[in-house]
Amino acid sequence: MTAIEVPPGETRPEPSTALPEPVSEARGVAFAYRRRGLVREVLVSVDLAVRGGELVGLLGTNGSGKTTLLRLLAAAVRPDAGEIRIFGRPAANWSRAELARRVAVLPQQLELPAGFRVSEVVAMGRLPHASRLFSSTDEDDAAVETALLDADALDLAARPVEELSGGERQRVLVAMALAQQPALLLLDEPTVHLDLAHQVALIETVDRLRQSRGIAVVAVLHDLTLASTRVERVAVLDEGRIVADGAPEVVLSRDLVRRVFKVAADEAWTSEGRRLLAPAGTRR
């Protein structure tokens, strides 16, 4: 699958003739943090559209605004300029509850309240769908079970959350997000705390879900090797703009890596013709 790109400013084509409508779309989005008169501009003008069935790896240095962009795409915050559209509808026109049935966010950090078991925490992801006052529906139970299974956390179901390791917690958080049965999944550094096998397994899970259920996924990644090999589309955020958007072998050039991340990168090709990218050093 090749990367899908819509040049900024171009009018959207008719759904029948071309691309499906983006699940979430940022157009010319600017965002700044303001505190006591100090303004820190994070995003200057960002254009990014993510469609059903896509997995986009979001790359950028620390403080480049990746988390902010995720929160904007989730319509959790409003942009200062430009607009966010969710399923073609302006973000401001969605209620919190409506959004929560379609968009799930895996935050970078989350304290899990002690005393709950894993299955209970994952079931909290069902809040936006809850229809019964005091009990869960069969649909809720099935969704929780599927989410646990998909996040490879079924064996943790009965464990108290305070006994989980960092990697196990991460799988539980993924399961909670999946229990929302979202059409858009926004993952903020999902592979942090995970061992190698679980990093690869998580990306594979997400990849399977996007293919089988058409979920759109945006994942903030830090590992260039992971991004260059496991993801079919990457978007690179630098100085408040998307500076590259497309297939990693095309857009993740050594030159771009040096310019954005300030590291020299080595590239190599596998026997299957896959390109590997590995950081080589901070010297130019």
Partner: protein, 365 residues
């Protein structure tokens, strides 16, 4: 998929099982009934358990019974002790339920229902009411007659408690702060109000004892009228909090995640705070400031049965009610010491023992 080989933990999905919840709440109801009968039967004029049960069954449920008791016993049981025991239960249950809510809202096990100003506001209201005859002699006649049924004290305490929470919330909101700002604002406002209470006590002269007794928590004046004023407010609060158990659970994940799960966080927080404060102010108005129940009961129950509010809220109501009724029975049998003294004397050491014994259950996982 290797996990497919694992037996499907159906029972593990979706929270505590119905049988477990039923057992916990069922035992709570049973304990409460036993406490009710014992607490109504016991006292300086002792009525047998059998007669007590028969009187209660006869008067409350219309169960036919041959009268084996004196009219005196019936009057004591029905007009004096029953309203008092029910008041203790309403107050204990209301405080414990509100305490559970505040502990979740503030994500802090040290939170109690008074934490953002209810107690100090209600105390000031009550102190002003007690001082009215001195401050404005013209009102003396009015306030004296108002003691029949719902008095000025109850009304001013209720208004003071709820009004203070509203003020604290408004100030904290103006400061655009989070939970910590709310707590600090509550502390600051409470300090100011406490200073006014102290000033009034300084000026109180022979009324000092009355104010002091109220501050320690007193159920002496319990009657059906006051019970009828507070019970509906606690009932409304209970219903609203209970049907929002999922949101209370999700707020434990933090505001950002709660928002991602569809909760309108500022609105939800305001509503839950006000509803819990409504119950708190209502019970404080009829009982004075009784400490420890609202702190200890939900905390201990959380350790025992877990933090799920679907179970924690009704369990807090039941066991808080039972605990305060027992404490009040102890206070009565000890010759009428303030019930607040008893709850502190029993509650605080028990709480310490628990703290030492149990692992920290509120920290991050």
């Amino acid at each position: 998929m290797r996990a497919a080989a694992v037996p499907r933990p159906r029972a593990l999905v979706g929270g505590p099982s119905l049988t477990r919840s039923g057992l916990i709440l069922g035992s709570g109801v049973l304990v409460l009934l036993i406490v009710l009968i014992v607490a109504v039967a016991a006292g300086s004029y002792s009525v047998g358990i059998g007669d007590t049960t028969a009187i209660l069954g006869h008067r409350l449920l219309g169960i036919p019974a041959t009268v084996t008791w004196s009219r005196e016993a019936e009057t004591i049981i029905f007009d004096l002790r029953l309203p008092r025991v029910l008041t203790a239960m309403l107050v204990g249950g209301g405080l414990a339920m509100a305490g559970a809510t505040f502990q979740a809202l503030l994500r802090n096990p040290l939170a109690d229902p008074y934490i953002i100003g209810t107690a100090s506001g209600a105390s000031l209201g009550a102190a002003i009411a007690f001082m009215l005859p001195l401050l404005a002699p013209a009102l003396a006649i009015g306030s004296a007659t108002a003691w029949i049924g719902i008095g000025v004290v109850q009304v001013l305490a209720f208004v003071g408690g709820l009004g203070t929470v509203l003020a604290v919330y408004a100030i904290a909101r103006g400061a655009r702060g989070g939970t910590v700002t709310l707590l600090l604002t509550g502390y600051a406002v409470s300090s100011v109000l406490a200073a006014f209470v102290a000033l009034l006590m300084h000026l109180a002269g022979n009324r000092l004892g009355v104010i002091f007794g109220w501050l320690m928590g007193a159920l002496d004046g319990a009657d059906w009228g006051r019970l009828a004023m507070a019970a509906p407010l606690v009932g409304i609060s209970l219903v609203v909090l209970l049907i929002r158990w999922r949101r209370l659970n999700v707020l434990l994940l933090g505001d950002a995640q709660a928002a991602h799960l569809g909760v309108d966080v500022p609105r939800e927080r305001l509503m839950l705070t006000m509803v819990a404060s409504l119950a708190t102010s209502a019970v404080v108005a009829i009982s004075g400031t009784i400490g420890f129940v609202g702190l200890v009961v939900p905390h201990v129950l959380r350790l025992a049965i877990g933090p799920d509010h679907r179970l924690l809220l009704p369990a807090s109501l039941l066991f808080g009610a039972a605990l305060l009724a027992v404490a009040d029975l102890g206070a009565r049998l000890a010759g009428g010491v303030p019930v607040g003294v008893v709850t502190a004397l029993i509650g605080a050491p028990f709480f310490l023992w628990l703290l030492v014994r149990s692992r920290a259950v509120w920290g991050a996982a």
